[in-house]
Symmetry: C2
Subunit: 321 residues, 2 copies
Amino acid sequence: MGWFTKSDYQPKGKHCYVSGGTQGLGKALAESLVKQGAHVTVVARDVVKGEKTLADLKALAQPHQIIQFISADLTDAISSQETLIKASEPFDGKCPDYLFLCAGFSRPKYMMDSSLEDFKGGFDGVYWVSAYTAQAAVKTMIRQRRTGRIVFVSSFLGYASFAGYTNYSPGKYALRGLSDSLRSEMLLHNIKIHIFMPCGIAGPGHDAENAEKPAITFKIEENDTLIQPAVSAKALEKGLRNGQYSITDNIVCDFARLRSDGGVPGNGFFTDLFYLIVSSYGFPIWRWTADREVKKGRQAVLDDYEARGVYDTHGEIIKRY
Amino acid sequence: MGWFTKSDYQPKGKHCYVSGGTQGLGKALAESLVKQGAHVTVVARDVVKGEKTLADLKALAQPHQIIQFISADLTDAISSQETLIKASEPFDGKCPDYLFLCAGFSRPKYMMDSSLEDFKGGFDGVYWVSAYTAQAAVKTMIRQRRTGRIVFVSSFLGYASFAGYTNYSPGKYALRGLSDSLRSEMLLHNIKIHIFMPCGIAGPGHDAENAEKPAITFKIEENDTLIQPAVSAKALEKGLRNGQYSITDNIVCDFARLRSDGGVPGNGFFTDLFYLIVSSYGFPIWRWTADREVKKGRQAVLDDYEARGVYDTHGEIIKRY
């Protein structure tokens, strides 16, 4: 992007599809898009929050802007396809121009305390909730000879991980795998792919996460600065305007990025050089301090397991759980 | 590991559980483990290959070594749990000591040509085929107050990705996310976690993959050196003996590692410094050449889509596929 080149990220008049758009980052983004003159479809499960969001967005919109809310469970493949079709109806069946895949949740747990449902459901609610929609959108855009852009939302925890996130980081890493592959493949069709790598975002999602967070996980994140949804959304849109592939909202994620991103297109030679130099050793040092917190918290976890009778003291054989 | 410290990787007398152990890396590894005096359980779907492997392994074993084959579909959670229980029966129900999770397959396809089943099934056959077993093993080891080690098998394509791998890289990245989180968390229980990041391994798996590989994907990988399964298995065991967390079988993967691993424990200060310096810019240059191959192959793909009638020329609205 030259200094005098107009960015090709221009929401005005575009149909923007925002999953998870009734709270947190998704809602902040939807509001910003409406203010910029975009038509916006918000998708989420909760109908009450959805109707509230619809009213809030309509209050910000000009009469000609199309604003929709669709209630759907996007962890289901068919539902993801049908929701995209439904969203396209007022647009002569044309695929949305910009997709912002913000849906997802986090419920950190130690593996020992995770049921099969925690482990599988946690993954589906991070990965498939976006991946099914991405596949449907890509295939539709290609069939319709349209271009567009798809924005995945991963996390710092899609670059690096630690105790408590076995049901979350796999999905966030997987989104990066999908995005990295699609970024390359969609050069064939002029469809732009981006991945947003935010740090912790304040809001109901984060509150729910913290309510049950394991003690060690909490301790490792103790000094993290939460970012307000509107600030995070602003950082995301700035990255899109600048044509960045991996977009962050925080310098910590930029350090992580240069040590973790597998050589995807960077965000500027000199700033990236700075991040690279600092993170090459700074990031492993952070990881080492996190490991130390795990070891410090060890005895408390083992005592808790003892108290809860987790250990098999009767010499039973392995059982299903 | 000091020069005079004995490695704690000692397969002799241990019960080693090898998924995907009837061909390629898994079989080579099973053979090596049997030769070192381990008890070995091989798990795979194909009964014919399984019986053949069982005979081959028994021919290498001493009479006191327990060698088993179990036919199972490990992409199913309950089957994964039951297979682990069954494998443990001759060992008084004790969880295997070492788990080598080698099962998995690769069928690269462009997203446009991927059915829902290709996309979902490809993922399950890479991620869940290992993740369910890992969860079952971790919970069992903790309950039984046993230690042990779990070795995940990811790929170069778990560090970086490109056109053709949207049904494969997400699973290989996800394995890294699971492994990175578990490595930290299992410091609580002295369970060791490793992740193997091989380049292409010669054998029937790779032949099947190449049979249908998209042209651009093939071109990007054209100059890759395939590694023989026994050589790859040897590199893996060497890394385990040296106490490495991320293990590679090839210098290309070491370059990728330092640009992609999220600051996990390294494999030696000076060698890693070398890889870091080279890969910091060398790896993005490789990625740039891969992008160029995608663009060069563009017209042929678009012509093919035109010939196959992929485009919707009738102004139909979006449909489910």
